[in-house]
Amino acid sequence: MQKFFSNRRLVILVVILVVCFGLMAGSVTLRNRRNTPPLIQQFGDDIVGIAGSVVTYPANAIQGGLSTVNELMNTYSENRELKQQVTELAQVKVRDQTLAKENKQLKAELKIRSSLTDYSTIAASVLSRDPSSWQAQLVINKGSSAGIKKNMPVLSGGGLVGRISQVNKTNSIVELLSDTSESSNRFAITIQGTNGKTVNGIITGYNSSTNQLIMGQVTSKAKIKKGTSVTTSGLGGVTPKGLYVGKVAKIGTDDYGLAQKIYITPATNFNEINIVTVAKLDD
């Protein structure tokens, strides 16, 4: 031990530690502030991503094959249930089309070009996942060349799953809502109360042991029922309005008993994401 911590080694160790933490702190702040990572990092990521497809594509193909076999097993029972739903859906679909058309006409009448509900989508497939317990991040195979920008919301399986945290030319990184970092799940959301009032707020946290999103500091008097749908409110201007987030699971009070805390069950299982849709607000 005496020999190991000789003067020269100690100095080198301290220098390495300083460089290490300097780099980390620098890249964390850079990532939060800048819209694109430095060019060198983008270039490196693109190269690594392309080289990695040698491994990731076969691995994903095997997964696809296995899950196909798995799905075949319960096709029959699913089919029976789904047939019933399809008949109901047809009605909803027709109504939806009529309303969308009417909405468009009314907008044209009022000379509104586009509102927060007008968005286009970019489909991408998931290449791999960050093997870390501290960051829940996916790598997807579309980047800035496909029109993806930082902070765009990402959907999968019908619900919101996260946001774009880093964009390269040909791939980008998605931070899931289950990520522990502070910025990952701050989405503006809205819930319709039973007495006609709506609750607006943001997602403030994620409870990993129950797999629920938390909407904290709700002081509204609106009565909220369990099972109410939660959607994005479009406030903030990056996220479109009306993206499905999940359902209200339970309502509690915060630590001081002053405000309400609403627990939301997310619509999608964050661990079964193969295809994602990136929502891009029209302008």
């Binding site: 390495i16 460089v19 290490c20 933490f21 300097g22 780099l23 980390m24 702190a25 620098g26 890249s27 964390v28 990532r31 990572p37 990092q41 490196g44 990521d45 690594v48 991503g49 080289a51 990695g52 040698v54 491994v55 990731t56 691995a59 994903n60 095997i62 997964q63 998931v126 290449l127 791999s128 996942r129 960050d130 093997p131 870390s132 317990s133 501290w134 960051q135 829940a136 991040q137 996916l138 790598v139 945290s165 880093q166 990184i173 522990t180 970092s181 502070e182 990993s208 042991s209 129950t210 797999n211 299982n269 964050f270 661990n271 079964e272 994401i273």
Partner: protein, 177 residues
């Protein structure tokens, strides 16, 4: 010696596959690896490098150099936070090498060294991310939910891959010209 042996090709190829398998396995088996609240960190890359430490004998693979390159790739491609693994991987490899000198080579001593290395890696990783503010998980949560499951997963990897990789090294080193 490394330049002449077949390991010159085999080691980087294995490292490459392990690096991307880490990400792919984490994605494909996400339900198993990240079943709340537990999370297992797949560290095939570290396993591959530490097995290199055990089996290289007098071949002398430039492991620290490979560790730096792999660390930079991990930082850039997976986490997006530059500066941790590029120092942590070489440190762990050097640590395993230093420990390996004190023990006679056997399966038990190897699994022990691997166990300690992975534990140290996860601890330093947690500590660094905690200081920088990437995670807010408490220490008890780290021990229970991450360290335990991670060690279990990587020991399974180790037991499955130890003998096949050993045989591969023996073959690769016996046919050198």
């Amino acid at each position: 010696m490394y330049r002449l042996s077949r390991l010159r090709y085999l080691f980087p190829i294995g490292l490459f596959i392990c690096f991307f398998l880490d990400g792919s396995l984490s994605k494909i088996l996400a339900n198993l690896f990240f079943s709340y609240p537990y999370s297992m960190v797949s560290q095939l890359v570290v396993l591959w490098m530490i097995l290199g430490v055990f089996f290289e004998e007098e071949t002398q693979i430039p492991l620290v150099g490979f560790a730096v390159v792999t660390g930079i790739c991990t930082d850039l491609y997976y986490s997006g936070i530059l500066g941790l693994f590029m120092f942590l991987y070489p440190a762990i490899v050097a640590f395993a090498r230093a420990l390996n000198r004190y023990y006679s080579p056997s399966f038990l001593s190897h699994i022990l060294i691997f166990f300690v290395s992975i534990a140290l890696l996860e601890l330093l990783n947690y500590w660094a991310y905690y200081l920088v503010g990437v995670t807010r998980v408490g220490f008890a949560g780290f021990l229970l939910d991450t360290l335990g499951p991670t060690l279990a997963l990587n020991l399974v990897y180790f037991i499955v891959l130890y003998w096949p990789v050993h045989r591969m090294y023996i073959r690769a080193m016996s046919n050198q010209h």
